[in-house]
Structure formats: structure tokens, C-alpha cells
């Protein structure tokens, strides 16, 4: 009966997770094509260093160490999950214990040790958010759901760890009660007798172990299915997202091919201005107004963001009180993508909901505050590029809507008229050579 229940629960959890992953994939594919299939070796290297190795986290050592505790506990605990699956489906108890012997004791002890570190790490993270009120974790774009989301994840992690120790601790206490010698796992051999040593009833201890076991696996499945609705999805997205990182120098912006075609036509004296434009060259619009105008990588970036706010805390515009926050750009992009994805799944792929990323979510004032300094790109621990979204939205404003701050209109006119952002004639370019 228990095995059947476990099987159904497992099937349902993975099924629902797969269903949501498909939605995520569909949403990412709302974006425009972009070729990132080059340089496989460097891409793997970037992923190993930045995602697996957490290289960029360590620019801030304290949160990096706390995060490392949670991260390594999470990764290593997946090994124990294999046993939980086997035990759950077959009805066995600690399936690998006998065959692995001392190695099993070592592995579980290791997992227990990391879980304790993760427990304290989680408490520290909760304190940083809610008691120390770290500025970057308490900005206005996090009001409401994002703050609840962050706390909920941390609380789920605490429950998860509590379940592990209820399971292992009660098991330990039961064994000691039966035969005076327990599993001998590093932490549960201490906390087991401590918390459950007073219980002299085997039945109660088994029940407690069962509660821990079921609680743990239910939390794991809940957590897994919560991820697609949460910023915490970064635990998966960090890997593909760093693999598909921009490998060019940060200062290099894309050259828009659609513009090249038109400009070449304008500069070519032999071009026939009445000739039909090649059909494949004309884009729907220049620049980006909505998420469908961004690339799939921009959208993957949005799903990878865990709202840590390092970008925003390094942004010169934000730190001097301007409206721009690179984190908000990413959150807006994700929220709009999810909204539009849901709308299109409901109303058909060509349906329009009359909203757009630019306007409904992001304002012009935010976009014009950017200095394109790349601090946000540099800071992001999972190589998100908010700057390319900002520039694509600016391109739409300027090229499609002619919405340019007045002073910039002058600068642009000067470049077009006299080849410099100021009103100087080209003939004066060499004057400095003869001045004192």
C-alpha cells in the first residue's frame, strides 16, 4: 500500500514537473533566434567554473560560503534521494547500507554534515533578509511576492533538513534501543539520542522515522514542483545559462543585420531604390518592444535570475537614486514572458493581449538612466546580461518611435551632419596640432 502510494506520488510529481518544464521551454522559445552553438570547449569551461564552481559568487566571500553550504548539501543529498526512491518503491530499509558498508556510513555522515551547515546557512540567510535587512534584499521591486518567495524557499529548506534528522535520528534511537549500537552516522548518532533517546517505545520511534522519511520526500517533491513558479529555478537554469553565456568582450554590442542591409542599400550608388527588399531581411521591428522581440537567451536569463540584486547594488544609476534596477529589468522580463506565454497557450499563438514589456512593465526613464557600464553583467553570478535587454528596448524607442531625450537628438543630428557628437566641422579636426 505504502509502495503504491509512493509510486503514484513520484509519478505525479515528475509528471507535473515535466509539464511545467515544457511550459518554460515554450516560453523561452517565444524569443528570437540566436546562434550560441560555437566554442563548445569554452562554453563547457564557463559552465564548470561559473555554475558548478560558483566562481563569481566568491567576489563576496561571506554569502559565497553560506551559499556553498546550501549548494553542496543540495547537490550531495541527491545521492541519498536515489536510496529513498529505491526504498520507497521496493519497501526496503536503507537498501545500500549492507552492500556499501563503511562507505555508506561515510556518505550519509557527509550528507548529514553538509545538512547541518546548510541549516545554519539557511538561518543566516533568513536573518540577513529579515533581521539585518540587507539593502539589496529589501528594495521596492521585492515587495510582496518576491520577498515571500525567498522566505518560503528558506523555510522549506529548514523543514527538509528537519525531516532528514527526524528520519535518521529516530532510526538511530530505535537501533540503540534494540541493540545498543546504532548506524553511527556523524550527526544523527548525536542528535538521535538527544532528541529521541527518552522515547522507550520502538513503535513510536519507527513512526517518527516514517514521518521523517515521508516528510522529506514530500518536501523534495513539493520543492521540485515549486521551483518553476519561483526565482529559485536558478538551481537548474544556472547550468544552461552559463553554458550559453556571451563569450565576446562585454563591450561588444550586436550589429543588427537588418540595419546593415538597409544601410548598405543607402550607401550603394548603384542600388535600385525601388527594388523589392529581400523578404527574409525585414524584421518585424527594429529593437525590442516585447519579450517576443528579445532573443531566447535574454528570456533564459530571465528564468535564471534568483533576484540576489548584486547587479542592482553595483549599478551606478541605481546607487545614485535613479529608477533603473537591472534586477527589475530581469524580473519584468520574466513576469511578462510568463504572462504572454500563458496568454498564448490559452488563446492561440497569434493572439495579442495588448500589453508589452516596454510600457506595461519597463518605463523609458529606467532605460535612459543606463550608462552601459557593464557592472550588472560583471556582477551576475550566473552570467545574466541585463544590458543587452536595455539596449534592445532603447533601439525600439529610438528607431521605431523616435522617442529620444532632446539632448540626444542634438548629438545624433551632429553625428549625421558633421561626423561628431558636437557642432564642429570636420575641417577643424586637426586644429589641435597647431595650437599651443
Amino acid at each position: 500500500m505504502q509502495q503504491l502510494l509512493f509510486g503514484v506520488l513520484t509519478l505525479f510529481s515528475f509528471g507535473f514537473f515535466a509539464f511545467n518544464l515544457r511550459k518554460i521551454s515554450q516560453n523561452i522559445h517565444l524569443g528570437q533566434a540566436l546562434d550560441r552553438s560555437d566554442n563548445k570547449a569554452e562554453r563547457w569551461r564557463t559552465m564548470l567554473l561559473v555554475a558548478l564552481g560558483q566562481k563569481k559568487m566568491f567576489s563576496r566571500p561571506i554569502p559565497a560560503l553560506l551559499h556553498l553550504a546550501l549548494y553542496s548539501a543540495f547537490v550531495i543529498t541527491q545521492i541519498e534521494l536515489i536510496e529513498i526512491l529505491v526504498d520507497g518503491l521496493s519497501g526496503s530499509h536503507r537498501f545500500f547500507q549492507d552492500s556499501l558498508g563503511a562507505f555508506y556510513t561515510f556518505m550519509i555522515s557527509f550528507i548529514e554534515l553538509l545538512s547541518v551547515l546548510a541549516f545554519f546557512g539557511t538561518l543566516a540567510f533568513l536573518a540577513r533578509r529579515n533581521m539585518l535587512k540587507l539593502p539589496r534584499l529589501n528594495m521596492k521591486e521585492l515587495a510582496g511576492w518576491p520577498t515571500q518567495d525567498a522566505n518560503l524557499i528558506l523555510i522549506m529548506e529548514i523543514v527538509l533538513i528537519a525531516c532528514i534528522f527526524t528520519m535518521n535520528g529516530a532510526d538511530e534511537a530505535a537501533l540503540q534501543l534494540k541493540s545498543k549500537s546504532g548506524n553511527g552516522f556523524l550527526i544523527s548518532s548525536i542528535v538521535g539520542p538527544l532528541f529521541f533517546g527518552s522515547i522507550q517505545d520502538l513503535h513510536t520511534l519507527h513512526l517518527l522515522e516514517q514521518i521523517g522519511w515521508w516528510g522529506h520526500i514530500i518536501m523534495v517533491y513539493t520543492f521540485m514542483n515549486y521551483l518553476p513558479y519561483s526565482k529559485h529555478l536558478h538551481i537548474f537554469m544556472a547550468f544552461p545559462n552559463t553554458y550559453y553565456s556571451k563569450l565576446e568582450p562585454k563591450g561588444q554590442f550586436t550589429n543588427m543585420q537588418s540595419v546593415t542591409n538597409e544601410v548598405k542599400l543607402m550607401l550603394d550608388p548603384n542600388a535600385d531604390p525601388y527594388a523589392a527588399a529581400p523578404t527574409d531581411a525585414a524584421p518585424a521591428r527594429f529593437g525590442a518592444k516585447d519579450v517576443t522581440d528579445l532573443t531566447w537567451k535574454n528570456l533564459m536569463d530571465a528564468y535564471s535570475c534568483t533576484e540576489c540584486g548584486r547587479c542592482t547594488s553595483a549599478c551606478p544609476a541605481n546607487t545614485t537614486g535613479k529608477l533603473l534596477s537591472p534586477r527589475k529589468i530581469m524580473m519584468d522580463t520574466r513576469d511578462r514572458m510568463v504572462e504572454l506565454g500563458d496568454f498564448k497557450r490559452k488563446n492561440g499563438p497569434d493572439a495579442e493581449d495588448g500589453k508589452s514589456l516596454l510600457g506595461s512593465y519597463i518605463t523609458e526613464e529606467e532605460l535612459w538612466a543606463c550608462t552601459s557600464c557593464n557592472a550588472c553583467v560583471q556582477e551576475c553570478p550566473v552570467n545574466i546580461d541585463p544590458l543587452s535587454i536595455i539596449i534592445d528596448l532603447r533601439r525600439f524607442l529610438v528607431m521605431e518611435e523616435s522617442k529620444v531625450p532632446t539632448e540626444l537628438t542634438g548629438m545624433l543630428t551632429n553625428i549625421e551632419n558633421n561626423g561628431a557628437p558636437w557642432q564642429f566641422a570636420a575641417t577643424e579636426r586637426l586644429n589641435w596640432a597647431n595650437e599651443d
Binding site: 546593415t260 560583471q378 529610438v398 564642429f424
Partner: protein, 262 residues
């Protein structure tokens, strides 16, 4: 000694080819403060007998501020015209004292048909010193002085050039003191992304003031830069704090020209 500057057109007419093109840039050509940087660099080039040329009246904006402002049309018009000119002169190597020109020429022109070896002037000067073509006079100009270096975003983060300017400051026999935000963490001066040409958006502080505070904290007597726009922003910042008597904002080229008694 007057500056020896020849144009590409002039050299071409007499059948000569320069080793390197000096891309002066709009700021270096027209801005009174930046022109001094241009002249300092030319003094160094002249002193080291570098066979260089400029484009003179044929030079035109790289298109950087247009591109960052979102006007890809204006950028590509400029880029394609410049590339036609540069390719016509068979330019192979370019040096520039402006990180914005540097970034655009180096990274964004190749995709449009203009591939050149592009270096920042601090890299060229470093090379001149390393190969023994330039020696700094032992005149003690900067001995014991504290110098801090402000990383231009388009040189540092954008193109990972952090060491060349610092290596040059260290050659000055001065003490290089870093700001709390430096290198990859360097704070922007506020001019990039076409902000130079517009008022800042509404906020509670100007970015260059925030950055000047970083520099003042170091107690350095000289703020060194490698970008004409950073120079303007930092100079304005120093003026804001009425410190222009105590703190000079100088380009690396000016520091080196000074130390080499040029």
C-alpha cells in the same frame, strides 16, 4: 618643439605607409581638455620616432554614442563609411586614447568588414617602455606622490584591460593607491552609454560625484584616467568639492609625457 603630425592622405600621396594609425576621436580633436591628452600622446610618439599618421579631416565619429543611444542606423552609417576609408588606406593597426573608440573599432567594426589590430594608448606606451624606446627621466616629478587610477568601463570591464595603465603608473616612482571600487568592480564615471550628451535621469546624486568621493577617500593627489570622458567627469567632480588646487585629474599619457620630460 612643434608636433610632427602627418595625415594618411599626405603619406599616401608621397608613397609612404605608417606603422600605425592614431585614431584621435571626437573628444581628442575638439574638446579643449582632451586635446591636451592628444598632444601629450603625440609628443610621446614623436619622441619615440613612431611612424604614425592621423586621418585629420577624414576622421569621423566611430558611431559609439549613437549605438549606445539605440540608434543603430546612425552607428552603422558611420561605421561603414569609416571602414571604407580605413580599408582604402589599408590600415592594419590603430591606436586610440579613447576607450569608446577603442571598443567600437576593436569589437564592433570586424563584423561590418573592418578588422584591425586596435590598441589603447596605455598599451602602446607600455610597449614603448618595455622595448626601451621610451625611458622616463629621473626627474622625480611624481616621486612619493599618491596616484589613483579610475578604470574606464569601456577599457576595463568591457575589454579586460586593467594592467597596462597600472603598470605605467608604477613606472612613475609614485604610489598607486586603489579606490575601494576598482578594476572589475570599478564604478562608472557616469558618462557612458551616451550619458555624456544628456542630463542624468532624476536621482539623488550625480554618478561622477559618487565616483569622486571614492577617489577623495584614497587621499591621492592625482586621479589618473585613460578616457577623455572620464577625465571630464572626474574633473567636474573635483571642482564640485572645490579640490582643484589639491587634486589634478590627468591622463596616463600626460603623466608619462611629464615624467619623460617631453
Amino acid at each position: 618643439m612643434s608636433l610632427q603630425v602627418r595625415t594618411m592622405a599626405d603619406m599616401m600621396a608621397s608613397g609612404e605607409t605608417p606603422e600605425i594609425l592614431f585614431w584621435v576621436g571626437c573628444a581628442g580633436s575638439f574638446d579643449d581638455r582632451a586635446k591636451k591628452i592628444t598632444k601629450a600622446l603625440v609628443k610621446i610618439l614623436n619622441h619615440c620616432k613612431v611612424n604614425f599618421a592621423v586621418l585629420g579631416s577624414e576622421e569621423s565619429c566611430t558611431g559609439d554614442p549613437a549605438k549606445r543611444a539605440g540608434n543603430e542606423f546612425t552607428f552603422q552609417m558611420q561605421a561603414l563609411m569609416n571602414i571604407e576609408l580605413l580599408n582604402g588606406y589599408e590600415v592594419k593597426k590603430i591606436v586610440t586614447a579613447c576607450p569608446h573608440c577603442f571598443n567600437t573599432l576593436k569589437n564592433e567594426y570586424p563584423g561590418l568588414g573592418g578588422t584591425y589590430e586596435v590598441i589603447h594608448h596605455t598599451q602602446l606606451i607600455q610597449d614603448l617602455i618595455n622595448t626601451g624606446k621610451l625611458t622616463l627621466a629621473d626627474n622625480g616629478t611624481f616621486k612619493g606622490k599618491k596616484i589613483t587610477f579610475h578604470d574606464p568601463c569601456y577599457l576595463g570591464r568591457a575589454n579586460d584591460v586593467y594592467e597596462a595603465p597600472r603598470a605605467l603608473i608604477e613606472k612613475l616612482d609614485a604610489a598607486l593607491v586603489e579606490m575601494k571600487r576598482c578594476k572589475t568592480n570599478g564604478l562608472c564615471c557616469g558618462a557612458g552609454g551616451a550619458q555624456m550628451f544628456k542630463e542624468a535621469e532624476k536621482g539623488n546624486k550625480e554618478i561622477n560625484i559618487e565616483r569622486t568621493e571614492d577617489a577623495l577617500e584614497t587621499k591621492a593627489g592625482i586621479i589618473a584616467t585613460g578616457c577623455p570622458f572620464c577625465n571630464t567627469m572626474m574633473t567636474d567632480g573635483v571642482k564640485h568639492f572645490e579640490k582643484e588646487e589639491d587634486i589634478k585629474v590627468l591622463d596616463i599619457a600626460e603623466l608619462i609625457a611629464n615624467a619623460a620630460d617631453l
